[in-house]
């Protein structure tokens, strides 16, 4: 069985149907890309998987490693190894980044019955991760995302991912608003984790990110459904012909 099994998932926001039956299977160790035009339901899918309130699931199921993901609280999903890199990371005034991360890391470790890590060990790991990501240690002292530039916020998400070591990362348009250097840092962060025990769902509007994170599979989401799946070449052909053709095809 795949790590993530989405079957017939339908969801609505404020009474408006957004997802209309998504089927997707992501085997452990693979990286899949989800592409699609604006309003196709990409971010909704990310939020439904992470458990945000206000998104009601009307039909379908989501299994994570065989467990019913939809029955879990957001924190329980984090504990089993799901990580959402937010499209718009949230600011937490007065909450230091280091405190936040260590608190989160230990909460997740507790839930997994792993020993908590002490401040010294945490700092060591955090510094190492920052170095790998070519990020400044200053990051640890600042409040979570407060006063960060758009690019810094996105890199902070990747930094959190590197520390929390999820089994499944969902990157929700992490590439939007990034210059090419920042994009490379983000891609390196994801690629460094790739392996048998790491899977990712890379949600993006553009091909650009997929030059750096080469996916095993590409799915095209349109009007709340996966309308096409294929290899990395699908992303390239989309880049050339745009979504219009595909969308028309799906409607036909």
């Amino acid at each position: 069985m795949a790590l993530l099994e989405i079957r017939g998932l339908a969801a609505e926001v404020e009474g408006k149907p957004i997802l209309r039956g998504v089927d997707l299977s992501l085997p452990e160790g693979e990286v899949h890309a989800i592409m699609g035009p604006n309003g196709s339901g990409k971010s909704t899918l990310a939020y439904v998987l992470a458990g945000r309130e206000g998104y009601s699931v009307n039909a379908g199921s989501v299994r994570f490693d065989g467990e019913d993901l939809l029955a879990m609280d957001p924190e329980a999903r984090a504990a089993v190894g799901l990580f959402l890199a937010f499209q718009y990371p949230v600011e937490l005034p007065g909450v230091g980044n280091a405190n936040f991360l260590r608190t989160a890391l230990n909460a997740v470790r507790r839930a997994r019955a792993e020993p908590e890590i002490d401040a010294m060990k945490f700092l060591k790991e955090a510094r190492a991760a920052l170095k790998r990501l070519s990020m400044s240690e200053e990051m640890l002292k600042r409040n979570v995302n407060v006063g960060f530039s758009g690019g810094e916020k996105k890199r902070n998400e990747i930094f959190q991912m590197a520390l929390l070591r999820p089994r499944l990362a969902i990157l929700d348009e992490t590439d939007s608003g990034l210059d090419i250097d920042a994009l490379k840092i983000v891609a390196n962060g994801v690629n460094a984790l790739r392996g048998e025990k790491f899977s990712a769902l890379v949600i993006t509007h553009y091909q650009r990110l997929l030059d750096h994170i080469v996916p095993d599979k590409v799915h095209v989401l349109s009007e709340g459904r996966i309308v096409r799946s294929g290899g990395p070449e699908l992303a390239l052909s989309l880049e050339e012909s745009g979504y219009a053709g595909l969308v028309a095809e799906a409607a036909a």
Binding site: G51, D73, P93, G94, V108
Partner: protein
């Protein structure tokens, strides 16, 4: 330092929840008969072997009090207080100890349980740098004061005020009532008439107090009020940091606490006064709890003197308290940092007064109010610039956070300027914990309650960082405990 993480760990470890300081100490107590009259005051004065001048001072305050009425402007509601149904004096029966080894072991156990070591050995066993001298006030009397010799060597006087009246009458007489006059307000007049104990601190010229000083107030006896009086004097160039903590047993009656604190800072002196107020707040239905009516005021008399008030207010059924600064000396500085958290049916009306009299005076006000449950939380503050306060500056920031939709958050600032060269800025906001902040924390693995605590602690950070380290950790734990049951 990951104090937040520690807070959350501690809170998870607390299994009993609720107010954990609510136990009662079984100890024989001498009580004055209920009620307030000249006789009561004469009895208190006699019990304390006071000089004639102090008795006269008390009686004058009593006369003033009788002609006054309770102030009605604060946003608090309570049934009429029967001032004749209160014992104005309650003291453990054992004779007063001359040194720590004579203190009733039952009392020592009480303070152990509250986390306040009264044995100097125990305190010394801790880290050298974090020594704190403690004056423990149990109901109406001070039961122990630690580290007195160490302090005496530095020239610092730290003792119960009743002792200071006997040992240092000239100092007490000069300063007592000089910042908060006997007839200042209803509750201050009441306190002046019946005050029983409290701490006295005198830091002579040029001395930097070698350790933090602390008073721990405990109400234990039933149907009593606590009326302590604290007086702190810092002479030219002196420095002292003083901490105050308070708890009381859980009872279904309301008990009255009406304290007065006076601070005097002379030229270039600095006094830091920190409070963690955790009187019993009443139960989830609003039964019981302390009525906390407190007058705290500091006079920056000297040039470049500095007084700062930092408070974390989580307890009491009603809090009515406005720690203030009178900025007389040129270039003197006043500060007020406050966190007030109300839950269930608590009511807090708290803030400050900054009176700018001298030129180039500065004040800073940072107030963080958190309301949950059915509580009401009001910031009330006055900034007044008098005509001679040229180039005075004030900055005020008041933020309120609402948790749930049955509570209220109110902000009532008074801003008055009579000098064109003064500059005042005031900002206030009210908001709730944002859904997206909660979700962000939860998606990183924190429970909803931990997420709220984290966000609340972040909200209060500017204030908490003003507290000495030990108190900051204590305060964070308190905030988390006080919020229990407010989410979900």
């Amino acid at each position: 330092m990951s104090a937040v993480a520690e807070t959350i760990e501690t809170v998870s470890a607390v299994t009993e929840g609720g107010y954990k300081w609510g136990f009662e100490t079984e100890i024989e107590t001498e009580l004055a008969p209920k009620g307030l009259s000249e006789e009561t005051i004469r009895l208190i004065s006699a019990r304390k072997n006071e000089p004639e001048w102090l008795l006269a001072w008390r009686l004058k305050a009593f006369a003033a009090w009788q002609s006054m009425t309770e102030p009605g402007w604060a946003r608090v509601k309570h049934p009429t207080i029967d001032y004749q149904a209160i014992h104005y004096y309650a003291a453990p029966k054992k004779p007063a100890p001359r040194n720590l080894s004579e203190v009733d072991p039952e009392l020592l156990r009480t303070y152990e349980k509250l986390g306040i070591p009264l044995s100097e050995q125990a305190a010394l066993a801790g880290v050298e740098g974090s020594r704190v001298a403690v004056d423990a006030v149990f109901d109406s009397v001070s039961v122990a004061t630690t580290f007195r010799e160490t302090l005496a060597r530095a020239g610092v006087i730290f003792c119960p005020i009743s002792e200071a009246v006997r040992e240092h009458p000239e100092l007490v007489r000069r300063y007592l009532g000089s910042v908060v006059p006997t007839g200042d307000n209803f509750f201050a007049a009441l306190n002046s008439a019946v005050f029983t104990d409290g701490s006295f601190v005198f830091v002579p010229k040029g001395v930097r107090c070698p350790m933090e000083l602390s008073t721990y107030f405990r109400i234990n006896a039933r149907s009593t009020g606590q009326f302590e009086r604290t007086l702190i004097i810092a002479e030219d160039g002196a420095y002292v940091s003083y901490l105050e903590g308070c708890t009381a047993p859980m009872r279904d009656e309301n008990q009255l606490h009406a304290a007065v604190v006076e601070l005097v800072a002379l030229n270039e002196a600095e006094i830091k006064y920190s409070t963690v107020q955790n009187w019993y707040p009443g139960d989830a239905e609003g039964r019981g709890g302390i009525y906390n009516f407190v007058t705290k005021r500091g006079a920056c008399r000297g040039r470049k003197s500095k007084i700062s008030w930092t408070q974390v207010e989580t307890g009491s059924a009603i809090t009515w308290k406005y720690p203030s600064c009178i900025l007389q000396g040129a270039e003197s500085v006043g500060a007020f940092y406050s966190v007030a958290l109300t839950n269930n049916f608590q009511q807090a009306d708290t803030g400050t007064k900054m009176l700018h009299l001298g030129p180039d005076t500065k004040s800073t006000i940072v107030s963080k109010g958190i309301s949950a449950g059915h509580s009401n939380n009001t910031y009330r503050g006055l900034v007044r610039i008098m005509p001679r306060a040229a180039r005075a500056r004030n900055f005020t920031q008041c933020d309120s956070l609402l948790i749930g939709d049955r509570c209220g958050a109110h902000t009532v600032p008074y801003i008055e300027s009579r000098n064109p060269t003064a500059r005042l800025e005031h900002e206030a906001t009210t908001s709730k914990i944002a859904e997206d902040q909660l979700f962000y924390c939860r998606s990183r693995g924190l429970s909803e309650e931990d997420s709220v605590n984290l966000i609340v602690n972040g909200f209060c950070r500017e204030v908490l960082k003003e507290l000495p380290m030990e108190f900051a950790v204590e305060a964070q734990k308190l905030l988390a405990l006080s919020l229990e049951g407010s989410v979900g």
